[in-house]
Symmetry: C2
């Protein structure tokens, strides 16, 4: 609420009567009231699902960034396109398709530069000069805050381009076109961007919702089996903490998913994206100003395991192991029933995920060892700030938060996972 | 609104019946509905007014960043302090005072580093390495998203530090301590930050509300007369478009302001900050996603005049001239009454502002000349994006927006200002 009662204070009289002229302690006598400001910002964006996004005749993209029913623009919508180099290697025809697309819709759409092709994978987040090159392109082309930046690629590419777009002119309109399972169902639909800096992952970034997200399942067909599977872990995670019915569906279709059933994958991505978006919209803390991050269920161990395995484990694979660990802890803690716990581990293993690895076990007995997985607890708390807040599982479809954990019980959980993963 | 009706789509049946398996056009047949996301973010911050902010016994600051009624923190609140070098030159004792302040409250407050002193003035926004040095300090000290960055200085310093703080860990808590009239009543209480890049002012930045703002009028006492006066222009601007009573007050107290009456200045800063904050809170577009920016009344010419005079005119002085121009245009346009127009020019001149300069006149006859003030109209539109939207004056206290202007009438307004400014 704004204080709006100060008009009377503007009359000449108080000027000669204000108490701080008497020479008492400054803060005690100063009579101007504090102003309490509330700023409410509403962001709207659509997450669209299609196939053949850049096929001539597919108007999904142009309908989003240059809609026909808008006030006729004086000239075509101006945009730049940034593409993941790994994707271009797998689909060499993509750049041509993107160029042909704007030709097809040339009255509505204009790429002001040829597509910018960036290095593949996480490397793109370790090169600040790539952020600058995108910003310089925006500046040279005279793009404004109503122009568009399209980012086509996996989560790392989307993060880096998102950061560049969010900071140029305090934010151009970002169109995310995620091309992996993980980015289509998770990071690509959210409100964050980032790059790595000073050796720390995601050290620089902003909270900046996209203008729109376009998910095209055609891109998934060129993924290797590990990347296809890895993205499923985030869908399992959100099902476990929010939607038992969705977990049942995934358990039933685990075999189909392993066989790369595209229809099943599309449904899973859609529901996972929907739950993720619902959480952001209704959590009350979309820009994470507090210390709680329920969607990071299983992630404290996952982040540490990625690092401990020197990224031999991909993010989704590490998340699957982190889920196995936190579910097992929840079971040993007397919260999760044994049958549910067994069903979760079975589903993870049917999907082809490892539920234990050497690095998880090695220094578990010495939590203070820098290579112990338990260092991940401290780092997780440091990253979020404030009090430690972890999500655990009450039952399938229902998470709950704790602020302290029992390391001995976690050690027992690791031992149990080790036994389960090598039954021989 | 989120689409929450997809549970049924997760049943196995649709999987074998989905129409896009028939091979028709991809976008027409794809049955997964788009998800429309709305994200609402609420920011709260207080703007506080005090004297002697760093005097022992003044608890304003520590009450904001380490309140006693909070859950007892395990250790003192961690923060870094960044100070404007120009301010340190004028008040060499400031660094000592800042250090002594944390000693005085050492159970609640801990500066993890000695104050970082930055170059004075706009230069600070032209050195990206300063942004990096602040971020590196944050990283080295292990500060988290719940730690604080204090910025003490004028608008340029606050902009640069705000950008560094907003992007490290996606945003630490920024405490702004503005030390000029302009930053206390205008930029320092708002939601933006920026640095210059690629030769363009404010090219990089974000919308990031501060955690709190602390205005201490002691800092104003060391300002030179030009800076004291220049900050009044933004208060006049907001009075003209929003609050006739406030304009009356400023007109009545113009003489006192020129004589550097501190009480009058404090009241003006408070009311200006209040109107500015009220606008941000109620405009419906605090992050400027649209094309309209009512608070930029008088600014299209002001920005251009700063550049055309090679920054001989300070921002507030250029704003005063821009106000004179747009008020004169409003008068010639038949909107503003002659008596009101004369009163506005009188007040500007009583305050010591110039209402015309050689650069305003020189290329006014050739709007297409790169050094014509009218190039500012095009640049203003480009910066905001979308349609040209200018604020003009209906009467004192009431602005209105237009989307096109008559250059010939603006040329007549410039001629009239030229005549008014040199009546001899």
């Amino acid at each position: 609420m704004l204080n709006t009662s100060s008009a009377q204070k503007l009359s000449p009289k108080p000027l000669t009567q204000r108490p701080h002229q008497q020479g008492v302690r400054p803060q005690a006598c100063h009579s101007l009231p504090a102003i309490q400001q509330t700023v409410t910002v509403n962001f709207h964006y659509g997450v669209h699902f299609t196939r053949g996004l850049f096929m001539p005749g597919n108007s999904s993209l142009v309908d989003v960034i240059a809609p026909l029913d808008a006030v006729a623009p004086p000239s075509p919508t101006r945009a730049i396109v940034v593409i993941d180099g790994g994707l271009v290697a797998a689909k060499p025809e993509l750049c041509e398709q993107v160029l042909a697309y704007s030709e097809c819709y040339r009255k509505r759409l204009h790429w002001v530069e040829p597509p910018l092709v960036m290095p593949a994978g996480e490397a793109v987040k370790n090169k600040p000069e790539l952020v600058q090159s995108i910003q310089q392109t925006i500046e040279k082309a005279g793009l404004c805050r109503h122009s568009y930046v399209l980012a086509i690629g996996g989560g790392a590419l989307l993060d880096m381009v998102g950061y560049a777009a969010a900071t140029a002119h305090r934010g151009l309109r970002l169109i995310r076109i995620p091309t992996t399972v993980l980015s289509q169902n998770d990071s690509g639909v959210g409100v964050k961007n980032s790059i790595n800096a000073f050796g720390k992952k995601n050290f620089l970034g902003t909270f900046s919702p996209p203008y729109a997200v376009l998910n095209d399942s055609d891109f998934l067909m060129s993924l290797g089996d590990r990347d296809w599977r890895a993205g499923i872990a985030e869908a399992l995670k959100v099902a476990l903490i929010k939607d038992a019915e969705f977990f049942d569906f995934m358990a039933d279709y685990a075999g189909a998913l392993v066989r790369r059933d595209r229809d099943a994958m599309e449904l899973i991505i859609h529901r996972c994206a929907e739950l993720h978006l619902q959480h952001i919209a209704t959590s009350g803390d979309p820009f994470e100003l507090g210390s709680s991050r329920p969607l990071d269920f299983g992630h404290w161990a996952a982040h540490k395991l990625e690092q401990l395995t020197n990224y031999r484990l991909r993010h989704g694979e590490a998340v699957a192991m982190g889920l196995a660990l936190d579910c097992t802890y929840s079971y040993l803690d007397g919260k999760l029933e044994e049958a549910d716990w067994r069903r979760i581990l079975d589903t993870l293993q049917t999907l082809g995920f490892e539920i234990c690895c050497a690095e998880l076990v090695e220094h578990a007995g010495h939590p203070e060892h820098p290579d112990s997985v338990f260092q991940g607890l401290r780092e997780f708390q440091e990253h979020l700030g404030g009090q430690l807040t972890l999500m655990l599982l009450q039952r399938i479809g229902q998470g709950f938060e704790v602020h302290e954990v029992d390391i001995a019980r976690y050690q027992a959980a690791i031992a149990l996972l080790q036994a389960q993963s090598s039954p021989a």
